[in-house]
């Protein structure tokens, strides 16, 4: 028995037994598809989706005109010509809307993936910690106070943000027990606060005059309509910063889902990590919900679908979630505009319609064990 022996492995590798990529030091490939190629394919799909989404509408815009207008507006390079109405529709109406779909869809998807890791539950989504119910309550108060509040374009978003901040603070305080922020307490506190704010919102809508009621409901169901360029700044920054931060935590997220104690024994400061993730994801969720209302199912569905494609490693899961979430929401928004044209359907309704059969499919999927039902 050697004194102070280190757990060393000195046996030679049996070369034939492992896939080539592993031996060469490259991570193995999931289902035979190289990861960089997948990212490239998704970026192309995103580009095409953006263009198509902008061309589709009551007024048809030719494919390349979209980018000609963009080039002109951004780089002041004029190639070809288009009409003024086309320019206005593309630049003032559709471009901001589609870009917002990217930020919202991507943001919700990566928050959903992170939340599922933090609470170690596949059923979690971005709203599990009460942020969206806080925002809804705030927005409801703003909408229904009408003339009582100083009116500005930003009244509703600010009120929604304050509401989400309130919810965040309450969940944070509730979830801490002896300084430790456990996953279980996070979920339970989130549920408790969600119910509280939902009750507030319900009461307000019950007491509301009809006109206000409709606006509140529309807001709560989520919508990207009326998006302006100014609306995009905060969600864009939040998504960029959030994504970078979460990617850096990806390895720790992998350890975290293996189990609380397992992660600790692998060197992860689980308590601190959960606190930081809670702050980052709440911020990102708030930025998104404040601008677009509570769009459901994206944050819940995307991680499941993407895990089927690339597996549970968060270093792959997060970027792919962001891209697929964006593409998904772009098309949901197209549907929201076109399905009952000229009437707009709240986008949250469509994501729920898609989400429900998805859930049923997920429940019935057997992969040797119950994933969802546990």
């Amino acid at each position: 028995m050697g004194a102070d022996k280190v757990l060393e492995v000195r046996m030679p590798v049996q070369a034939s037994a492992l896939p080539e990529e592993r031996l060469m030091g490259k991570p193995s490939v999931q289902q035979g598809f190289p990861f960089p190629l997948l990212i490239l394919a998704l970026l192309v799909a995103l580009f095409v989706s953006v263009t198509l989404a902008i061309t589709i509408g009551p007024v048809d815009i030719p494919f390349f005109t979209v980018w000609k207008i963009a080039l002109d507006k951004v780089l002041h390079i004029t190639l070809g010509e288009w009409t003024k109405p086309q320019e206005q529709i593309v630049w003032l109406v559709r471009f901001p809307r589609v870009l917002l779909a990217i930020f919202v869809g991507g943001g919700l998807a990566i928050v959903g993936a992170t939340m599922q890791a933090v609470v170690r539950n596949n059923m979690a989504g971005p709203y599990v910690l009460g942020i969206s119910s806080g925002a809804s309550a705030g927005a409801a108060i703003a909408i229904l106070s009408g003339s009582l509040l100083p009116f500005s374009l930003y009244t509703i978003p600010i009120a929604a943000f304050l509401g989400s901040l309130c919810a965040f603070a309450l969940v944070f305080v509730l979830a801490r027990s002896g300084g430790r922020l456990s996953s279980r307490r996070l979920v339970l506190s989130g549920i408790a606060i969600s119910y509280l704010f939902s009750a507030v919102t319900s009461l307000l809508t019950y007491l509301a005059p009809d006109e206000g009621l409709r606006r509140v409901t529309f807001w709560m169901m989520g919508s990207l309509s009326g998006a302006h360029w100014a609306d995009l700044t905060l969600p864009a920054i939040a998504l960029l910063v959030g994504m970078l931060y979460l990617l850096l935590q990806a390895r720790d997220l992998n350890s975290l889902v293996m189990g609380e104690e397992t992660a600790m024994t692998l060197g992860v400061d689980t308590n601190g990590l959960r606190k930081r993730l809670f702050v980052v994801t709440s911020f990102l969720t708030a930025m998104v919900v404040v601008v677009s209302g509570s769009i459901g199912f994206v944050g819940l569905m995307m991680p499941h679908i993407v895990r089927l494609l690339v597996g549970p490693d968060h270093r792959r899961l997060l970027p792919v979630c962001m891209l697929t979430g964006s593409i998904f929401l772009i098309w949901m928004d197209v549907a929201a505009r076109m399905v009952l044209a000229p009437q707009e359907v709240p986008i949250g309704v469509l994501t729920s319609i898609v989400g429900s059969p998805f859930f049923i499919w997920l429940m019935n999927r057997k992969k040797g064990r119950d994933i969802v039902l546990g």
């Binding site: 028995m1 050697g2 004194a3 102070d4 022996k5 280190v6 757990l7 060393e8 492995v9 000195r10 046996m11 030679p12 590798v13 049996q14 037994a17 492992l18 896939p19 592993r22 031996l23 060469m24 030091g25 991570p27 193995s28 170690r120 539950n121 596949n122 002896g178 850096l248 390895r251 720790d252 992998n254 350890s255 889902v257 293996m258 189990g259 104690e261 397992t262 600790m264 024994t265 692998l266 060197g267 992860v268 400061d269 895990r307 597996g311 549970p312 490693d313 992969k367 040797g368 064990r369 994933i371 546990g374």
Partner: protein, 272 residues
């Protein structure tokens, strides 16, 4: 890795003590077993050693360093833990799980190096699971899963290995397999064990816990006496050395037999 546990105490919320003043010393390279009935504090003690629970009194040191003076990462570089496998909803591949053992050595922006891959491959080979790299962890048998976790601990390149009841829920064959493997590594090991025979077979030294205290410690053959077993487990027994294998075997006599049929102090033969 020399492990010292100095007079540690712990109770839930500072209330009634689950661990009342335990002292332990593990010499480098030895396989130490922690045994005792449920509720005696085995897992709690281990948790204090692998730095998940903070002692309310006393100290745990690794090679003289207080574990709480270390950061979680530093601790993970020194000790690796194999816990009872929990069913997880997230289906990682065997290779990825073993690779997680490298994370204490990686900084934020680091990616896996060729050395990391070599260590992981070798760890899998060491536990006899080469070829399992691309399998889904959840599809493995209990014994195989435990071996993957041991491989992960190997990849961690720690000087201390801690196992919390590694043989629970395993078939007999895999119980032996896992402990054989761990013993053969020759690393300082502390294991909480349920089974006295396994403890007697594999441990260089055992600590017997009862109600949060160590009531005996030492070489299994000396410590595991029928009197001790009765005091700790409340069951009559006889401890023999097997004539063929020379191994310590414990035969239990449930209450009914010991009262009416069996002469315990004599030859130990049941009268029909």
């Amino acid at each position: 890795m020399e492990v010292r546990v100095d007079d540690v105490c712990w109770g839930v919320d500072g209330g009634e003590k689950i661990i009342r003043g335990i002292a332990m010393h593990t010499a480098p390279g030895t396989f130490v077993g922690v045994i005792g009935p449920n509720g005696s504090g085995k897992s709690t003690l281990l948790r204090m050693i692998y730095r998940v629970l903070r002692p309310q009194a006393g100290l745990v040191t690794l090679n003289g360093e207080d574990v709480w003076a270390l950061k979680p990462r530093e601790m993970a570089q020194r000790s690796a833990v194999v816990l009872q496998e929990r069913p997880s909803e997230f289906d990682f591949k065997v290779y990825d799980i073993v690779m997680m053992g490298r994370s204490p050595h990686k900084k934020t922006f680091d990616t896996e190096s060729v050395e990391d891959h070599r260590l992981v491959s070798n760890a899998l080979a060491r536990v006899g699971l080469t070829g399992y790299a691309e399998r889904d962890f959840q599809t493995l048998s209990g014994g195989e899963k435990q071996r993957v976790l041991v491989a992960r601990a190997l990849a961690q390149q720690a000087q201390l290995l801690i196992l919390d009841e590694p043989t629970n829920h395993l078939d007999i064959r895999y119980q032996f397999e896992v402990l054989e493997l761990v013993k053969s590594l020759g690393v300082t090991t502390i294991a909480a064990l349920h089974d006295l025979t396994l403890a007697a077979l594999y441990c260089d030294c055992v600590y017997v816990l009862l109600e949060g205290r160590v009531i005996a410690s030492g070489v299994p053959a000396e410590v595991l006496t029928p009197d001790l077993i009765y005091e700790v487990y409340g069951v009559h027994s006889e401890v023999v050395t097997h004539p063929k294998t020379g191994q310590v075997q414990i035969a239990f006599f449930p209450h009914r037999l010991s009262v009416s049929n069996v002469d315990i102090k004599g030859e130990g033969r049941a009268r029909q």
